[in-house]
Symmetry: C2
Subunit: 361 residues, 2 copies
């Protein structure tokens, strides 16, 4: 039997599978349209529903034991939902440019490629376009980003009328990049301060101690500087290596192998409970001993777990600090509702940034 | 009945559709792996087969009359094939950077997003990486590009050992971009010479005659210049508008509404016939009266139609001109084979750049 004869049954099977998938995709789009018409609110994107669909797909996929990874099927179903949604109207998603950053990756991971991603010069501008309804959603880094925007994002969250409706978690790898493909004569290493600290041990072990560590605005900027100076290296992403045509001297040099960056998706809508949710809060209180403890007590006595607590000097108002708190659960969950009522009584300022489905990895 | 009650049957239907699609995707990946193992050559990507799959999908989709456009289903099946292929090994595709250009769009359109696209500083470098087998395929513009690389691509085709294995056709829209959102005080318009000529009539009608037309290396470069000079406008793409944060003064200003750019995909493999194919040739001949006519006669007398003829001054060898010729059909088709044999006798130099499936739009 020739190879062609052996291949034929597989190709025929694929053709028949494809035909079935095609019909199902069109049926799916018709149901998606019917749902849009029934809701009639103009809001086509439902984060809680998308999260449920993806979780279920990954759970089923695990059970199947097939060749496609959970990440691959999540990517494909994102694209399928993205195309079904774009039948009505493609979404526009703003983010802090330039293109090729982790934030753009996060936007595409969350909304698929049928959505339109629009880079902005500043994170403020990315928020403003959505606030002015010239774009649908903004994706902004809130934790552990090496693109220099986390602090500004948090400040904007305090004042912006936008509501969080989703989160995206990206696994971040750092690489040591240089214009030339050898380690000789390196005098300095450029990176965002976050990245320098995330690769601290690796740098201690692998670079001579006279190499200066220079913190810059972002890892993309570090790569750009390394592209202009052969005696420098940069810590940056794969995308930056490509963008600035640098050689990779070492890969995955982060000390912590599960290094991730977390992003919030913000828009105008409030999001219903998906079953596995988080709520982001901003709280401020008078600066006196025991304040934080008292605030947190409002959570714990109602059985609400906290997944993040971060304090920042307040830029507005009468309080010295604002606290960014993420809790497990949805504002509509009874115990979360009670905790927030208690918190409201004790805090000088409480803002619910939003409740949203926990990121599907 | 509440909206939720009305939504439920549609959501249940979508859940059941998704479950079926998921199983089918995993079955599909298993067949794709089986095919890869049977072929055992290490070459996982089969352009002729992908083209056949997409053509069939679009034909079936037209018959279904569903909501998803032929473009949407082609995008989804590209992604599905891309993920099935990446189960074995993701492909690396080089192109002339920077990111966000039409060429990157072409690479993603052709290979899907599971493939890895790698921007290069020059088109020479993009070819070189594939020649050195550090990347799998290069995507390069060959016709009507406004990114400044067509001439160089053609020169490289003469000398490169790479073979064409696919073509991509992108519909190109030009926009008039400016740093500020008004038409006052414009002194010049920057663009690639191709774009200036493609928007010639629109510019005549809509810009004052004293506005200078300045040809630059690429439309991306034009946008960059306009970003630095408020008295200038640029003709460039949506991607460039976003990249350099320019306002769109006018959309789709190209005189010819079906303005397209054509790209070749090149790698190491020869591609079998898909049923609707093209063959790209490079021919040179002594510069004497009637030479071209004689060459073309070899095609027509064998019933082979030509879809492109372009001459360029030769940079190497003894001939003054080289001719880039595309014909309908595959080198393995009998009439094409005969025509090439005749051509070989009459031409001083004949190179078959490759035979490949006609682009699926």
């Amino acid at each position: 039997m020739s190879t062609d004869d052996l291949l034929k049954p597989h190709r025929d099977a694929i053709d028949s599978i494809d035909q079935t998938i095609l019909s199902l995709l069109n049926e799916r789009a018709a149901h998606a349209r019917a749902i849009g018409e029934l809701k009639g609110s103009g809001v086509v994107y439902r984060p809680e529903r998308e999260a449920q669909v993806l979780r279920r797909i990954q759970e089923l996929n695990g059970g199947l034991g097939g060749l496609l990874s959970n990440e691959a099927v999540a990517r494909l179903f994102r694209e399928i939902m993205s195309e079904c949604l774009a039948v009505e109207r493609p979404l526009t998603i703003t983010y802090l440019g330039p293109e090729g950053t982790f934030t753009q990756q996060a936007a595409n991971k969350h909304f698929g490629h049928a959505a339109h991603t629009q880079p902005c010069a500043t994170i403020d501008e990315a928020f403003r376009l959505v606030e002015a309804r010239q774009a649908d959603y903004v994706v902004a880094p809130v934790e552990n980003s090496t693109e220099g925007a986390v602090g500004r994002t948090l400040d904007l969250l305090v004042a912006s009328p936008l509501k969080a409706c989703g989160e995206v978690v990206l696994r971040i790898h750092h690489h040591l990049l240089r214009k030339v493909a050898n380690q000789e004569g390196i005098t300095k290493v450029y990176a965002h301060a976050q990245a320098l600290s995330q690769c601290h041990e690796w740098l201690n072990k692998n670079l001579p101690s006279h190499v200066a560590r220079v913190a810059v605005a972002s890892n993309a900027r570090a790569a750009q500087l390394a592209a202009e100076d052969e005696t420098a290296v940069a810590i940056a992403s794969q995308a930056a290596a490509e963008r600035f045509e640098l050689c990779k001297l070492a890969s995955n040099i982060e000390d912590e192998p599960n290094n991730t960056t977390r992003f919030l998706v913000l828009g105008h809508q409030t999001t219903g409970a998906s079953g596995i949710d988080k709520t982001s809060l901003i709280v401020s209180a008078p600066n006196k001993v025991g304040t934080v403890h008292e605030l947190l007590h409002a959570l714990s006595e109602n059985g609400v777990s906290m997944s993040k607590l971060e304090s920042r000097p307040s830029k507005v108002g009468l309080w010295e600090y604002v606290f960014f708190i993420d809790v497990e659960g949805h504002v509509e969950d009874e115990h979360v509702k009670n905790a927030l009522a208690d918190l409201q009584e004790r805090a000088a300022f409480l803002k619910i940034v939003g409740a949203y489905p926990k990121a599907v990895l």
